[in-house]
Symmetry: C2
Subunit: 217 residues, 2 copies
DNA sequence: CTCCTTTTGTTGTAATTACAACATACTTGT
DNA sequence: ACAAGTATGTTGTAATTACAACAAAAGGAG
């Protein structure tokens, strides 16, 4: 009995439909010891993984020996699903066991095989994948847009403007504290604080903690 | 007779299946005059557009009056498909007619309606959307990864490392000239040239025009 | 080959940022 | 209310970058 039934990948699917998925996508469970390599940059993969137990890290290791940890993937979360869909895309990151863990792998195979099937479970599954992918898209393009400007000021204004659009108001709370906002915008925290102060002195914005107001006049 | 049959959205679909799509997604054609607003930031949309004639620009206009043009969308290309899929996501950009143009709109409605249909045309269509979305994801996360480092040097090395992984070799051509690479990495061109020279003098890489070699020893 | 255009490399300067160190304000638990 | 810990703001300095102006190299047309 797997504990994967409540993953968003299987959203709105009956237990029977999920069983179909597990069978048809030839799911297999595998265990990894801490620090063991699960997927390696440079490879391609037809499988994506769902974490049943433990956690994995997504990291980048270049040939000059620099390591960057990009993210952690924990319980019931998944990884490499984009690469599994696009079978020819080479992985640009390593996936490594952050601790002893159990991974459930799904073999998507080529999309083509799924296309010709017109079963309901497959339709639901693909719709879920599409929703997940679209969501990731919004997050990624948002961030990409916010860190494109070269100055801290422009990054701040770009970010605040989009939040304002999302909240339909020039006054709103943001979900970050200063350090998190700095990390999100890829700038130094103190430099961020400094620029926020300037923007307030110049009357462009007004803020207190994570509450912001945009002053356009 | 629309000229949309060869868009990647309808890849591997028969003419009959495409007709189904056009009907079921209640496609409607609409004309816009140059500079007319097609979709506005802050709104949500259930429709996405396919350009039949002319072209549109995706732009960002903040409340302080700054305008940034993000991209052009030309013939047979489409826009806002991600937002149409996620009906609650507010548009963060404006879409405006770059010249007089004809747009074919598709009403995706909620994904839920499509999920319960298990017709082959729908399956194919969604698979195509998924492939497009996954691809966009790879492009976006790649770029996001490359412009995250704060120094030019790190951005260059990050980029070269991924190309090396994709080409399965430490020697390869890149598809950019200096100006394009600078734009892609969001840095100044001359600063980029300068840093490339340094990297060569230090024996980290060797390059001539758009041919690169990574020297790891 | 020569002229012209485009691309790429180099250098100096001004602006911006990261970083460190510290001051102030805010939280939390007792 | 107090103390300890955390978050935020401030300042100065060193490092990095953008920008501009120019030099050198490469490519193309006649």
């Amino acid at each position: 009995m797997k504990n994967c039934y409540h993953s968003v990948i299987f959203k709105d699917m009956t237990q029977e439909e999920i069983e179909f998925c597990l069978t048809e996508l030839r799911s297999t469970e595998k265990r990894y010891k801490k620090d063991e390599m699960i997927l390696m940059a440079g490879d391609t993969t037809e499988r994506f993984g769902l974490v049943l137990e433990g956690s994995v890290t997504i990291e980048s290791n270049d040939i000059w020996g620099n390591r960057t940890i990009l993210s952690h993937v924990g319980n019931k979360q998944f990884f490499a699903e984009t690469y599994a869909l696009l079978e020819d895309e080479t992985l640009l990151v390593d996936v490594r066991a952050n601790e002893n863990c159990r991974i459930l792998f799904f073999r998507i195979g080529s999309l083509k095989r799924l296309r010709s099937s017109n079963e309901l479970w497959a339709m639901k599954f693909i719709c879920n994948m599409l929703e997940i992918s679209a969501h990731k898209n919004v997050v990624l393009s948002g961030r990409s847009f916010h860190i494109s400007p070269r100055t801290i000021r422009e990054r701040i204004l770009s970010y605040l403007n989009t939040v304002s659009l999302q909240k339909h108001s020039t006054e709103f709370d943001i979900p970050f504290d200063r350090q998190q906002l700095a990390d999100y915008l890829n700038v130094d925290r103190s430099a961020l604080s400094n620029e926020l102060s300037k923007l307030q002195r110049e009357g462009v914005i007004s803020c207190r903690k994570n509450h912001f107001e945009l002053l356009s006049h």
